[in-house]
Symmetry: C2
Amino acid sequence: MWLRPSARKGRDAPPLSRDRIVEEAVTLLDAEGADRLTMRRLAERLGTGSTTLYWHVKTKDDVLDLALDMIFAEVLIPAESRGWRADITALIDGWRAVLLRHPWSAALLSRPMLGPNVLARSEFLYATLLRAGAVEPHLTAAAYGLSNYVIGSGLMQATWPTGAGQEARQAAQEHLRAHRESYPALAAHGPHVAEADWDTGFALGLTWLLDGIQAGIAGK
Amino acid sequence: MWLRPSARKGRDAPPLSRDRIVEEAVTLLDAEGADRLTMRRLAERLGTGSTTLYWHVKTKDDVLDLALDMIFAEVLIPAESRGWRADITALIDGWRAVLLRHPWSAALLSRPMLGPNVLARSEFLYATLLRAGAVEPHLTAAAYGLSNYVIGSGLMQATWPTGAGQEARQAAQEHLRAHRESYPALAAHGPHVAEADWDTGFALGLTWLLDGIQAGIAGK
DNA sequence: TCGGTCACCGGATCATTGATCCAGTGACCG
DNA sequence: CGGTCACTGGATCAATGATCCGGTGACCGA
């Protein structure tokens, strides 16, 4: 009784808020991946009981949605314009970097992304394309093409077991080599060969898309 | 005792095999979505105990991996060539159609796809590009660009609450309209406006990618 | 100063689910 | 005919998302 802790549980825990929960969720996701995130583990890290989290958040999915939106804040929106191609390239590159920095996000991409940060990036994309002179149907096609391309790339690369999943990666290569005669082209030129060139490949594809968009604008 | 069922449980159940399990898993996924798939429910549909499934399959994830690979068998690989652009277009369009026909697949795209059906399609893609004359780094960029583009598109469109999720879709539109002043370009030209033109947009983006690939081949 | 409200917290508990233990069971073989 | 072996499933376990309900203390108006 005399020694009853004056403040909260932890040493200096700031007073638990929705933001703090999401923040901790992101670091937990970064550290251990999507399937290791449970409400109990999250609560423990925050120095509270798992029940308490439900006061600030309705369901676990909410935490995931919020975490997903939070990392999109890291994608910085070009302040001053250097031309639409440069602006869009910067945005898309930043977007991709975030997806790769938080590989768990790939698994969450299948839920509707309507958070403010995501919307702000989409807004910038649309606005830039409009300013560049894009009109329908090229406008929508451009916006979607670019988004889909980044998302697909991020998903693909985050999925592919590089770095961390050494044994899984080994297994995959082994798998391909074992079926070499079934997939000759794949075995000879597949992802495991030119493995480090994700960046080059991504940049090339992006160029193609931008060229197509530019041609569409000019030709209109 | 006298009336002991001669065959198995159900009327005419064929003798439960891994294939039958996966097949039923796909129809269950099609009918109710990814989160309604549990081993118990799956077993019940098959007229067996849930335990039995584990004799044919190691984990639930195996079922998901197998189901994902199974639907890729629906993507038909062009038998005789009509030129590399046409061939690739056919493959990619088929691929996209499958992703949209089985929306649950979007959520599973984040796991490594190494099943035979997936690999066979990748093989065809690489082989076609090689035959068209693509060389590195354009080869990898092309293969990845195309794959990423379909995957992203499928994910995006399957995610976006169309048709089925009426209320969710309404909510999303409402959400955008409510923040109209924050996202002017998005509100004016966003996805909810030109909503039906997924196909056109997809085709346009695909054209851009193919044009870029073609230019890369020619210029080499 | 006092009583009460209310934002916030958490132990106990429930239902669901993936997975395993172990005891069958019957077809087939030598 | 005895035994092996592919196959089945009831009971059970541990983990997890979520809820019930009883605290607790800061603050506020009287």
